[in-house]
Symmetry: C2
Subunit: 336 residues, 2 copies
């Protein structure tokens, strides 16, 4: 297309919109993907046997590009990861783009290329999409909304209600990388680092975990971080969650930035980590299995589900205990 | 919930977000809908036999409420209608809400109630959702993105490539009502009218049309209006489209407003109309069938698919011909 920036006319249903869709979206997302047909109102999808699962997510990250990814790869991984932690293999995605008038077409194209690449890596096809152009100043550059469809085996249904006293809590890698990487990318703090977002597919990790009968439940600790997942576990099971602070993997630059700015890495988003709750018997075996995977080499057993007062307790390095409260107000910069 | 307006903390993944989701979204959308479980990453859906179809749409209408609907009912109908015109029965929806900081909670709740009502009327369940809160001034109040899943009979595949010379073009009712109703609702023109948006489910119309073997293709003329659908038919088939201006139903207030403001109703969005391309043999029978339906009483046969130069031609009242050009720049106020 000829224009260097998006205008309102790119959203009006006419020729310019057709050119934008053909030259940016269909060009990259349609490669090797015969299902994507921009002339269809609805796309046909074939689903293998099993339980069909569906999930949806909105993405509003600022800046749109950050070390380790951009809003496009984040949208694909975030949505596919929600299917993966539910025990499914993702197959199809739909994509909604709310584009702000004035967005650079080259930036949009880089983001769409990342969507195509992340989709290819994860083995999913973008089969339907829609674009809307919103007025200058009304759209944060670009918002994406993605819906994913996947298939899970009929035999294995993961649910929080399967969690029992004595179960172990595992995390697949260091927490807070995504949150800190996005914060640093804003430059507003006057700091730069070489820390990358952990945004990636967790499918290899979740598929490995599904091999264990003792697997109860998985979740990706995105918005609200590890602490928020722990609170949800506590709320739904009515049990106590005890975490060992020293067992929770946090990269040194993440700790350093958090200390400087007064954030708690346990509340920062990860975009490529899995939290698994697993029986005591299978905990060590799953940990060993995860550590064999490139994305799981820093996996750790971080806590236990206990009876006792319904709380999330953090056992500190010196053996003290502190209650980890639920995220209340908004002490964190918006990163998703 | 206690707050009267949405704050950034309603999007942070913590307690306030949980309360917003429970008290506004799950409360209305979960009624009689056991699949919606806010604690799941992905929702299980059961699909009847047939071809599975998926579609997605973004909604950015201003104002959020207008005579005959609001952004919520519009999102449900818009998405289900895309499945309906593809020959499918819609079953499931996912919902993404980008909420602007400062939005009135009561307004949000009215919109969510409309979503619930429209979903119930159409027979679909909202099975998964996500909310993001964006900073004040960055979100037009509320944007919605919805994805729909439906099932179509295996035997009947509608496609533009099935269109033949001699086929007739039918529209199920007056065009431009939605576009003009939204324009008037803005009050920016200093005019008020009692015209309502036509936003509604087209499922009864599309299901009736599917009874006819001669049905080739259907579309709902939303963004870009009837004229844009005609241009797409022309582009894809390579044929000529001839429309009879006097046969195209346009309500008197729509004509009047368009005349005053210099708009062409053929480019204005409809949100409850169907355009069908059907064999000459079945055209009159489908027209009769549609006119028996409450939403089809003003249905009309508006044109013919012809050989000859690839153009959309409008035959005027006096028998003159003019070429209907594709929508180029943005002469219309943004209404979707």
């Amino acid at each position: 297309m000829h224009d260097s920036h998006i205008g309102l006319a790119h959203g009006n249903g006419g020729r310019l919109m057709r050119e934008l869709i053909d030259s940016v979206f269909a060009r990259h997302l349609g490669r090797g993907n015969p299902i994507l047909d921009v002339h269809l109102d609805a796309a046909p999808i074939e689903l293998p046997r099993g339980r069909t699962l569906i999930t949806t997510d909105g993405f509003t990250v600022q800046p749109l590009e950050f070390p380790g990814g951009n809003i496009g790869s984040l949208a694909v991984h975030g949505t596919c990861n929600d299917l993966a932690v539910a025990g499914a293999t993702p197959f199809y995605l739909t994509l909604n783009a709310f584009i702000e008038e004035g967005l650079e077409v080259q930036l949009l194209e880089r983001i769409v290329m990342s969507i195509a690449e992340a989709a290819k890596d994860t083995g999913v096809a973008v089969v339907a999409g829609d674009t809307k152009v919103v007025r200058r100043g009304e759209g944060g550059g670009l918002y994406l909304a993605t819906t994913g469809v996947g298939i899970a085996p009929k035999a294995k249904v993961l649910k929080m209600s399967a969690i029992r006293t004595g179960d172990r809590i595992l995390v697949s890698g260091p927490v807070g990388d995504h949150g800190v990487a996005v914060m640093l990318a804003r430059e507003a703090f006057g700091m730069r680092g070489d820390l990358q977002s952990d945004a990636a597919s967790v499918l290899p990790l979740t598929q490995a975990a599904l091999e264990f009968d003792g697997l109860r439940f998985m979740r990706d600790p995105t918005r609200g971080g590890l602490a928020t997942v722990m609170h949800e576990l506590m709320h739904v099971t009515g049990l106590q969650i005890r975490l060992e602070q020293t067992a929770i993997p946090v990269r040194e630059p993440v700790s350093a930035v958090c200390e400087m700015l007064g954030y708690d890495p346990l509340f920062l988003a990860c975009e490529g980590r899995v939290v698994a709750v697993v029986s005591e018997q299978d905990a060590d075996r799953l940990l060993t299995r995860w550590r064999m995977l490139s994305k799981g080499e820093h996996a750790s057993c971080i806590g236990t589900v206990c009876s006792g007062k319904q709380r999330v307790i953090l056992v500190t390095e010196l053996g003290g205990e502190r209650v980890l409260e639920e995220l209340e107000d908004d002490p964190l910069p918006r990163i998703c």
